[in-house]
Symmetry: C2
Subunit: 663 residues, 2 copies
Amino acid sequence: MAEQTGKINKRVVIEGVTPEIDSGRYPIKRVVGEKVVVEADVFTDGHEAVSCELRFRQKESQTWTAVPMQALVNDRWTAEFTVTEMGQYRYTIHAWLDHFKFWAQSLVKRLDAAQDVGIELVIGANLVGEAAARAEGSDAERLALYRRVMEGGTAESIQAALSEELALLMYRYSDKDSGTIYDKDLGITVDRERARYGAWYEFFPRSCWTQDCTHGTFADCEARLPYVAGLGFNVLYLPPIHPIGHNHRKGKNNSTVAREGDVGSPWAIGSELGGHKSISPDLGTLDDFKRFMRQAAEFDIEIALDIAFQCSPDHPYVKEHPEWFRSRPDGTIQYAENPPKKYEDIYPFDFDTPHWRELWDELRSVIEYWVEQGVKIFRVDNPHTKSLRFWEWAISNIKEKYPETIFLAEAFTRPKVMYFLAKIGFTQSYNYFAWRNTRYELMEYFTELTKTEVREFFRPNLWPNTPDILTELLQVGGRPAFTTRLVLAATLGASYGIYGPAYEQCVNEPMAPGKEEYLNSEKYEIKHWDVTRPDSLAWLVSRLNSIRRENMALHSNESVRFYQTGNDAIIAYSKTTEDLSNVILTVVNLDPDHMQSGVLELPLEELGIDPVQPYQVHDLLTDNRYIWSGSHNYVELNPNPLPAHVFRVRKRVRSEQDFDYYG
Amino acid sequence: MAEQTGKINKRVVIEGVTPEIDSGRYPIKRVVGEKVVVEADVFTDGHEAVSCELRFRQKESQTWTAVPMQALVNDRWTAEFTVTEMGQYRYTIHAWLDHFKFWAQSLVKRLDAAQDVGIELVIGANLVGEAAARAEGSDAERLALYRRVMEGGTAESIQAALSEELALLMYRYSDKDSGTIYDKDLGITVDRERARYGAWYEFFPRSCWTQDCTHGTFADCEARLPYVAGLGFNVLYLPPIHPIGHNHRKGKNNSTVAREGDVGSPWAIGSELGGHKSISPDLGTLDDFKRFMRQAAEFDIEIALDIAFQCSPDHPYVKEHPEWFRSRPDGTIQYAENPPKKYEDIYPFDFDTPHWRELWDELRSVIEYWVEQGVKIFRVDNPHTKSLRFWEWAISNIKEKYPETIFLAEAFTRPKVMYFLAKIGFTQSYNYFAWRNTRYELMEYFTELTKTEVREFFRPNLWPNTPDILTELLQVGGRPAFTTRLVLAATLGASYGIYGPAYEQCVNEPMAPGKEEYLNSEKYEIKHWDVTRPDSLAWLVSRLNSIRRENMALHSNESVRFYQTGNDAIIAYSKTTEDLSNVILTVVNLDPDHMQSGVLELPLEELGIDPVQPYQVHDLLTDNRYIWSGSHNYVELNPNPLPAHVFRVRKRVRSEQDFDYYG
């Protein structure tokens, strides 16, 4: 093998580098300001010492920045750096035999054994001389001076040889060129903060109307903004806003026959009025849309659009580029299918077409078109049913020019494919949260997401519902289930979202028992929502989003830890900032039908709590405060009105010793 | 990233391939006749079907052999093949969109839904037509026929479309060229059986003399062969047989001053009489050595030599190639050191010398010299103190020409370095067995060695003692400890060895308390062993080696499973053949001082035992037989005379129903 690597006679070995995704094939993800902690096994033959450094750079830069690595145990080394700019970074490792470090370590041992070190000092002085030849300016002069002093062979020579300054200079001028450079440059995609942390809200613009029997417009959406802002959301995601096809249009409840006045599914994109770069006139004009985006920005809300790469039979592409679709032997175009199911209102693109380059370019240009209109967040519809390598290419292409873009993959598909989409570039991902209901399922899944390599590339965005997903738990669990799933999503997920107002109004009637489709789904008809309903969970949504804003611990997922409660119906977990200044402890009763109680077991010292002092837990949902002491405390939660605590842990309870006059 | 890979528009993804060591940088290991089971994640976008095949070839062959892979769950696929020749193999994976398979699966669903399939049959017939164009000869004709039948659009067309013959033909003539080939060819080093399974014995030839006060010769060694053969060993390993240096020769007990008549350490290689390619005249001539090897072969014993790449100050290399050693400022050659310890009788090679190519070539030629004399097994002394990349190069170079060579790494060093030596080519490895004494330590270590990726490249050879290692347990545990460690080594390790006759005679006096060196170590003086001593463990060694020979379950390590005993002083484990026809259950009392008992818990069905029938366990050490029933059985072991059972599990106890006349 050696002859294949060009590494022959490189005595230092670098291996076991983490993070490294699929042999370095895919980048890890970070947001601006986050740390990258790198570890590696670095060793050489024999007893000699190695030194190594972590190197990083922005992709387009030619210059590496080096950080010295520190030895852990068992030949493992570590170093870290912080990414400060959006875009692509690279990192790698450089390790070398550090003859001087080894010499100095040996010198100490020889001195301890009272050996004569005369010749050793000459050997050391020679090493210093070699370094002096590699150095320049005053460093070279200092090294030359050290050399002379060491050659003296006196007590002063020994002192000089072991001085801190010399150690630093000798590290700086090590013969690094003889070392080993790790054979891969590993990648990092650095996004803006919203890639990691954000609360999303989805609504159908056409349902935002306020008078009877009309079609909502962007102007109506503007009127709804104060409501969404009051809920505290950062991102407002709209289903497709393009013209909707007529041919095979779906009627209410997904009926294959549309009746007069049926508005069709927004995902059946394209008509004689335009395609993926057009806006449905029923919603308004491009200017209306831009005005709506500006208004949203006033409320600190960013608009996200849907990228659904499929066409209605009426889409202009179908006439202009029949070569982008698959033909059937009868000359018709192949509609979407999942046999025996047929979706005749949808034509998928044929990613195997010989004209795939043109197709890819056009689809990429759709994304860029909307970026140029100011949209920087995209929810991508079913990306797993399009060529995976297309996404890898298109996303990297777009992000190269617009590193601020965010792509959320709506891929409710098999686990390997879901992760693969994240590896090849999707910023965030829908995931299996909606179907993880028990304590065990939640713990297992969020441990996988936050404590394994997955966390390096996969950022979950937790949605308890979507227009496509009304889970059985919500169907049968009613309002308590809506409450618990909301609290779980908002506290387990640095990014989470709901499809409203259906969610906050606890809409939970399925099209049929055992189906996850909504009855009278908004996908096929215009709804009217009274957002002022007093029984709405809007207050809780608003409260949770405030809590999220105010508590940095909830802005990321990696710190999550689960705790014993002695009751499988009660889940408890903390999130903490690195310095433990912010500790959020969430306790949720997962049983929508019964009061549940348990004894919560906390590792106090790991949470920064003095185990012999009482401490306060402050329920940020209710503003109730409890004084706890010790690691075991009783909790009791009723499904109604509120089956959850979101505690901020206050580490210390004031006592008489806090009075000025005490002591 | 896509632009870097050339994989653009390849719709099938292959990842997560196992086994794959360090991104494919190092080969896995097998012996002739062993299976290679490969798994991979293979998937594509959308609903389409993929097919994939495992490809393998001998390295020098240009032709791949393909094995269809079978789907497991979760997008994971598997296939296996058997390696039949020594040398290097390669394997990789090829996956493609299988349009016909998907079409046929869809057809069944459409038929089940009573849909009209007229056009579908035309689509299928077209796929068959495309395959016919790729086929030749009678296959092409059959496919063309199938096409015509399918175009008929009759019930017969459907039958033809779903026929097994067509499925096979369509698999064979799939459009594989449009598929994805995994981007790595992964390597396999295939050795002969002795690389995996063998019992080793180490003795000092010079101690094999039979008259008083002489130096043993190869003729004396020949006389010792019947004894070694009686013990049942396969490999007889000799410490270095080269001339020993005089300068700074070590005296008895590692004294830095040799006295008149002191013979020195065989590892201080080289004198005016020659170096690494010479034989000490005290032992005999090359012809004597060859005769000894031939005699050993008569007893089915293979001779292994020591490769110790270091020199005494008198080695011819020192004069002829001073540039291969490091000089000190006073002009002397740098002796070996581990500061503050000095080994002035040893000069290490300087692997950083500018003349390293010549040095590497010469050292490689040493190995080849002995291979040409007929030696095919080498125990390599302290390989971790020589350039690691030298070994990678030298071993692959030697094995390319002599694939039957076996290299055992004597690297008692840090874990990462120990594993690395195995990755870069060492066939077998000394390891930490000698210091794994408790039940927990043994279970943990052998789980790591046999149930993780380590098993793909690291073959442990278990030595309870060596001339360098007399463990504290042997020092304090006496004969029961020698017995348990022997049973553990022989049953946990498909390869194991002892340094004798010290081992079977339970020699356990250390040079000093807390030291692992033997008192009056044979490394520095000639011993005389009375191998007929009645208190020797020779009978047990012999018995264990017979058991090993007769029970295939003990010829490999991967099947090892540990069991609960309810007593930490008792360890129990099984090894089994794949078909469960041979089940060996070993139970050992690890406490050298007290009788211990426990209740052994066996998963009967996994061992192929009918849980409602009694079964027999036959102790192959004592020939005692016990009838057990159920999963829980009592065991009791005394340190003396025999603190272990090595049971062969006989699955069924004969009963009246076994008589011919019954039933």
